[in-house]
């Protein structure tokens, strides 16, 4: 299975047509697929809170948005999640590279990894953790759930899911 293509196809099948990205090495393949997809407008952002602003505007303009980012950005974006996305009740699927988990080669990444789920739980953000490749099968249902309830929803995707960041 090509996970990058599967994720992109699921986004497109759920009418997600506006995707902003802040890169991570684990996400390089899916960002490439999204950039190439003709039904998806890809707009790279310089910071994740900026990206969430773009997504908020796109949604109010009638498009379904998504953001692709690294888990370190949860630390950057908490205020935006609370006072924009949640306060105005907007849907936002967040496909997140979960750095600092098993098979992580960079020690510093662990420092935000240990806070990631606690911060998401504190914000009452529904959170899913893809650890095995087969977990991607839930993405379609998670996207439907996100646009049903108009909430930000986190999909944490770790190195094991991507096939091992350190092994690449």
């Amino acid at each position: 299975m090509n996970i990058d293509k599967k994720i992109t196809d699921d986004l497109a099948a759920n009418d997600v047509s506006f995707v902003t990205t802040v890169p991570c090495k684990q996400l390089a393949g899916v960002i490439e697929e999204i950039d190439a997809h003709e039904d998806i407008f890809h707009i790279p952002s310089n910071k994740e809170d900026e990206g969430m602003g773009l997504c908020a505007g796109a949604w109010m303009g009638g498009k379904r948005p998504a953001i692709i980012m690294q888990n370190t950005a949860i630390g950057v974006a908490i205020n935006t999640l609370a006072t924009l996305i949640q306060y105005y009740r907007m849907p936002l699927p967040m496909l997140i590279s979960y750095r600092g988990e098993l098979r992580e080669p960079i020690a510093c990444q662990v420092e935000m990894a240990v806070h990631t789920k606690a911060l998401l739980a504190q914000l009452n953000i529904p959170t899913y953790h893809f650890h095995h490749q087969a977990d991607v099968e839930e993405l379609d249902a998670i996207l439907k759930y996100t646009f049903m309830c108009n909430k930000p929803v986190a999909i944490l995707t770790d190195a094991n899911f991507w096939g091992g960041y350190g092994d690449q």
Partner: protein, 185 residues
Amino acid sequence: MIRSEILKEIAPILRDQLVVCNIGIPSQELHAIDDQPTNFYMLGTMGLASSIGLGLALSQPKPVIVIDGDGSILTNLGTLPTIANNVADNYILLIIDNGSYGSTGDQPTYAGQKTSLSKMAEAAGCDRVVECQAEETGRVLQEALDAKQMTIIVSKCDSGNAKMPPITMDPVVIRDRFMKAVQGA
């Protein structure tokens, strides 16, 4: 001329347009001067008005006017290259540059000192950047609408705020009526 006087003067131009307005006193002033369903008031999240407006402009065809401030642009400077590289000709960013953080006690910003936001917008790659004095804002804004070309306006004005009440409308109500206005004729 202070920001609230500019807003009063341009209110007739804004009335029929989609407007995304910056957090704090700017939104309170616009709300008190001429509340419209076509206004999206930011109640939190300093710095993101320009980003929200860009996402909106890229997702539907109606003109979008963002009313932003120098302090908010400085807090989200990454917005300028994103705007420049994703051209939406229905997007106007009006930066009311009073050289101060108006909502927090008028502390000076760097835009009121050595930093030029219009030169930064140009350096970011924005093609149509107009710097004007406060009194010219209405004319420059109307010209930008007529030009149908993405425009960044930096309107230089005096520091100061009008005393207006906080917005008590529920955020979901603000958002819902705005989305209906976006979809409407």
